[in-house]
């Protein structure tokens, strides 16, 4: 049973790492700001997956009250929502003045 639990935690972690990498690649390569914001959400979801998987693992060792990871995950979800709200707000303000959502046209400030 313990070995099963361990293996399944590893599976979650691999999935989390894959999501994280996808998010990082998305932020670095996509031009559309909305898609960049979505990639950032992907990174934060990788974090949540990690936290919940680890929380389950530690619950198996420290008992059912070891919930730090799940509490942390709820805070990260809230934070992701706040970040998305502010991000879209700023993007709308930007779009009103410039009529584009592409990052490579965000070019007034350089060097």
């Amino acid at each position: 049973m313990d070995a099963m639990l361990h293996i399944s935690t590893l599976h979650y972690l691999v999935l989390g790492a894959a999501l994280f990498l996808l998010g990082v690649i998305g932020v670095l390569t996509r031009r559309n700001v909305v898609i960049v914001l979505m990639s950032i959400e992907l990174i934060l979801n990788a974090v949540n997956l990690n936290l919940v998987a680890f929380s389950r693992y530690w619950q198996g060792i420290h008992g059912p009250s070891a919930l730090h990871g799940q509490v942390f995950a709820i805070f990260v979800i809230t934070d992701a929502a706040a970040e998305a709200a502010v991000g879209l707000g700023i993007l709308i303000a930007f779009f009103r003045n410039k009529e584009t959502v592409n990052v490579d046209e965000v070019n007034l400030l350089k060097w």
Binding site: L44, F54, I90
Partner: protein, 501 residues
């Protein structure tokens, strides 16, 4: 919750209450009364400072106490940073009053967001649990994203906010990933437990590579927040596009909060991994000093130039963490960082206050050309700017000298002669672009507007406070060195006592 929890959270609670109060009061204020928001914010800062003072008195000689189920450690280190944030915010509020009127963006949300971001900073400085530190960081960062884009009709401000938001959120994500791995490895979110577990077995087990990945992602997030090269790209853009008062606020309070978080995590949680992070920091520090000093040379915008200068200062401060042996930090290095942050708060805010005061009617005031002939138009401000520039360059007897002095001293004490000489070399190099500003002010010809510049009363107060502090710390540093010793709980170092008496 026990009653000490309420006491320890008092300064944060007060700031939050005032921030919400400003939002309500703002609805009732007529357009010409918007300055009252600044007054409310100022009162909030003073109340919060009184709260910090009360905690300080209550603590007495004890080194600190835990609160909120051991997620928060209010020790002298935290109290030192709390005072620093509040001082920086107070000066930034003084700078903002006239500036927001000139920009026709005088809304209550501005001050509200400022106070909320200080509440976040306080959580970062006092946090002893990675959850609280992360929440504080995000509260500060999200408030600052909005503040950077506060001039919503100005395209540069929009653009700065967008870039800051994307890179900031990206770095927070990477940082959170590192924190989740740390939690997974140690089974706890408490920094002390993380340290114990890392030292006890993680670093000697097959999980060491995971710990290294956790360290790399966490440190990436930390270096992003303090804007060290190669994670600095957001800083010049955000600094240039933001309202100048917010640029000042960001370059001191937000940066100090980033440092408080970095010190807490690296010096407590990740201390067992010091042999791994020191070489990384050596690389980052040299890259930061080199890149920022060379990039600053070619700038034509004063805010952007000061952004690169502030990146260069981060490079010098990082040297303070490198000082010491492979497993032991140098006390002088940490002391140097704290003194550096203190003097940097005043001299950098002063420089931004001068630039803010140039903003009136048609002159934006942040191009280097706008400073031409400032001496004949506003002699007092020109002289103050010269003082701030010389202090930033680290010329004794101004405050900036002492920040650098302790850091280089700690490097020499621990035998890092090459790094110390590099630091000194770049400090001298930096003098060039600081004097470029002085040259424009004193030798340049006036191009726009011959008239004398009007300076508001609040701006005079901001300039006065920052200039006095810069001179006072520079000429009589004893008190402030003792203050930092108190914050770190260390006795006066004999070699420094000799210097100051």
């Amino acid at each position: 919750m026990v009653w000490t929890d309420y006491l320890l959270a008092l300064p944060i609670t007060l700031l939050t209450l005032f921030a919400l109060g400003i939002l309500l009061i703002d609805l009732m204020l007529p357009r010409e009364m918007k300055w009252a928001n600044a007054v409310t914010a100022m009162i909030g800062v003073l109340f919060s400072a009184a709260g910090v003072y009360k905690i300080q008195m209550w603590m007495g000689a004890s080194p600190g106490s835990f609160g909120l189920m051991r997620t928060m450690l209010v020790d002298r280190f935290a109290i030192y940073f709390w005072y620093l944030f509040l001082a920086g915010t107070a000066v930034a509020i003084l700078m903002s009053v006239r500036y927001l009127e000139t920009e026709h963006e005088n809304h209550g949300e501005y001050y509200s967001l400022m106070l909320l971001s200080v509440a976040g900073m306080m959580c970062m400085a006092a946090g002893f649990d990675i959850v609280l530190i992360f929440i504080g960081l995000e509260l500060m960062a999200i408030s600052t994203y909005v503040l950077v884009g506060f001039l919503r009709r100005d395209r540069r401000s929009n653009e700065a906010a967008l870039k800051y938001l994307l890179l900031g959120a990206f770095s927070s994500g990477i940082f959170a990933y590192g924190l989740s791995l740390l939690y997974g490895l140690t089974g706890s979110t408490n920094l002390a437990v993380i340290q114990q577990e890392l030292a006890r077995h993680i670093l000697h087990s097959e999980y060491k590579p995971v710990a290294v990945v956790a360290l790399l992602t966490t440190i990436t997030g930390l270096l992003f927040k303090i804007a060290a090269i190669p994670f600095h790209q957001w800083a010049p853009d955000a600094y240039e596009g933001a309202p100048t008062s917010i640029t000042g606020f960001m370059s001191v309070a937000v940066k100090a909060a980033g440092w408080a978080m970095l010190l807490r995590i690296l010096v407590i949680g990740l201390m067992p991994m010091r042999p791994i992070w020191v070489p990384l920091l050596v690389f980052v520090s040299i890259a930061t000093m080199t890149g920022a000093n060379f990039a600053a040379l070619t700038q034509t915008n004063t805010k952007r130039l000061l952004a690169y200068s502030s990146i260069a200062h981060v490079g010098y401060m990082l040297l303070g963490l490198i000082a010491g042996t492979a497993t032991q930090l140098s006390a002088d290095g940490i002391k140097g960082i704290l003194i550096y942050l203190l003097v940097y708060t005043f001299m950098n805010l002063g420089a931004f206050a001068v630039i803010t005061s140039l903003r009136h009617r048609n002159v934006v005031g942040d191009e280097l050309d706008d400073l031409n002939g400032l001496y004949s138009r506003a002699p007092v401000e020109a002289v103050l700017m010269l003082v701030f520039m010389l202090s930033l360059a680290g010329i004794p007897p101004l405050a900036g000298f002492y920040g650098k002095y302790f850091i280089f001293l700690s490097l020499i004490e621990s035998g890092h002669y090459v790094l110390a000489s590099l630091g000194v070399l770049y400090s001298v190099f930096g003098l060039y672009y600081y004097l470029k500003i002085a040259n424009a002010m004193f030798m340049g010809q006036v191009e726009k507007g011959e008239e004398k510049l009007p300076v508001s009363l609040t701006m005079r107060a901001a300039l006065g406070v920052t200039a006095l502090a810069t001179l006072y710390i520079g000429i009589l540093p004893n008190r402030f060195i003792e203050l930092v010793n108190w914050a770190l709980g260390i006795a006066q170092n004999p070699s420094i006592a000799k210097l100051t008496h």
